[in-house]
Symmetry: C2
Subunit: 287 residues, 2 copies
Amino acid sequence: METRELRYFIAVAEEAHVGRAAERLGMAQPPLSRAIAQLERRIGADLFVRAPRGMTLTLAGETLLREGRTALAAVEAAERRTRRTVATPGPAPVVLTAKAGASSELMAKLLDAYAAEPDAVDVEVVLSPPGHQALMLRDGRADVAILHRPFDDLSGFDVDVLNVEDQVLILPAGHPASRATSLTVAEATSIPGLPTPRWPRLDGTYPEGPGPELRDLTQVLQLVRLGRAAIVMPESARVNVRDGLAVVPVSDAAQVTTVIAWPPQSVSSGVASLVRTASRLFDAPRA
Amino acid sequence: METRELRYFIAVAEEAHVGRAAERLGMAQPPLSRAIAQLERRIGADLFVRAPRGMTLTLAGETLLREGRTALAAVEAAERRTRRTVATPGPAPVVLTAKAGASSELMAKLLDAYAAEPDAVDVEVVLSPPGHQALMLRDGRADVAILHRPFDDLSGFDVDVLNVEDQVLILPAGHPASRATSLTVAEATSIPGLPTPRWPRLDGTYPEGPGPELRDLTQVLQLVRLGRAAIVMPESARVNVRDGLAVVPVSDAAQVTTVIAWPPQSVSSGVASLVRTASRLFDAPRA
DNA sequence: CGGCGCCATACCGCCCGGGTATGACGAGAG
DNA sequence: CTCTCGTCATACCCGGGCGGTATGGCGCCG
């Protein structure tokens, strides 16, 4: 199978529509139809069921979509890292990616401590939207990432645990519920008049639901301050809490684990020393 | 980058010789030369240094070889698993791979216990040469594997630890060294007249050294019995020890960890239940 | 029942990947 | 110093395949 075929397949699978997929790929519809048919013949299995409105995946198609995405990311990573190998004759800089607004205190400490190391190399920090960090690590755009269980998919990475914390509910100051000393998740997410905001999925669309659609932490906190929402977050988010906000522990929420993650078989000495610094600084239990 | 280009590059890199690589790929030399040159142009970096005798990798080339191998394996895995998804309409059978002769007792227990489970599916056991298990898992020929640290590269897999054990020296019965109650690695591998056998590397070639070249456990034990060799092995290999052999603990040898490993994002329910059975049966400390 | 939306088929042209023949170039032998 | 050999690169040709346009088949819906 060629990566071109894989790209075509993934486009059609994601759009569920040959015409739109062709447009996205910058080509005409018929050759794409033919390429998909050829792929199905070569694989020896139907990948789509042709419905009168678009196409949907078969079981085999779902397998290929899941595995093919990581495979394609691996190929892109190989190409990207090869390019970067030659670009810099000196010590290779390290690209670190993290979710904008999360673990900022921890990252500041890490970067300060690392810069003081004798073997430190340049660290380029890339703040990307929630959920994109793992993708960037998989396709070679980043060398190392700060990720959070259970939100990010850590599978396939080597990781070191940096921190484990509980979650809290952030809600408008003065709201009756803010007088509680502790809440359950069920209680926290069903307070009348304070719906849970919705975050965009990886493809930019929003899940269905009653809450407002939001894109970053600042927006959320502003909305909470206005008495229009409440949100459950790791307690390290307290550092962002100023006037107008109240915080209540959520007793039964999943613990959030902050990890530093890097691709297996990484040979970058910069990544290795950065990870070493992180483990020395934080080195939390493996919970 | 297309997988075809990647295959070509890997062939040339491994052979360090365009002519031989072309032969191995079943094509003529000139188009292969051209393909490599095109790849270098597209990547924007020299991958080889042209020497009068063959070609050697640059730094960028080494990166592409390392990352490209896993990427290519991922693409092949995607294709293979897609084929296998459709092949069987019923519950999907599971392919388990393990090193021939290793952990046989543990595997027997596991397979017996699993077969008795209510949700058990067919398990196809593939015994392959040492070191090939991880490859098979990476390229989709197997769904789950029994691996051994520190010998196998576990990076990128999800694992459960099943067993941790020390290593012992197996030597001819009656040999003076067999009267020792314990040996160090240095002592065990430098007994006059008892060289350590050499095992083939993944590509089938042998490392340099004084010991005999061998291919499987039976050969080794026979040679030891004949007084021509001695070998350090995990102590579970004692079950293979019969007349004519002696066993001495090796105090400072690395502990051997037996794990069950599977690809991340595996969705096979068969793999999941097999792993569950294994953890329940053995569930060793995570040392 | 007509029109529409969507995918498949038919057919064509051109690019590119593969083949053969040959050149360039450095190493080593004499 | 030169001849030869080994190795990779270049030149050139050919054919398959990929992408393009035009059009057909076929459910759905109005």
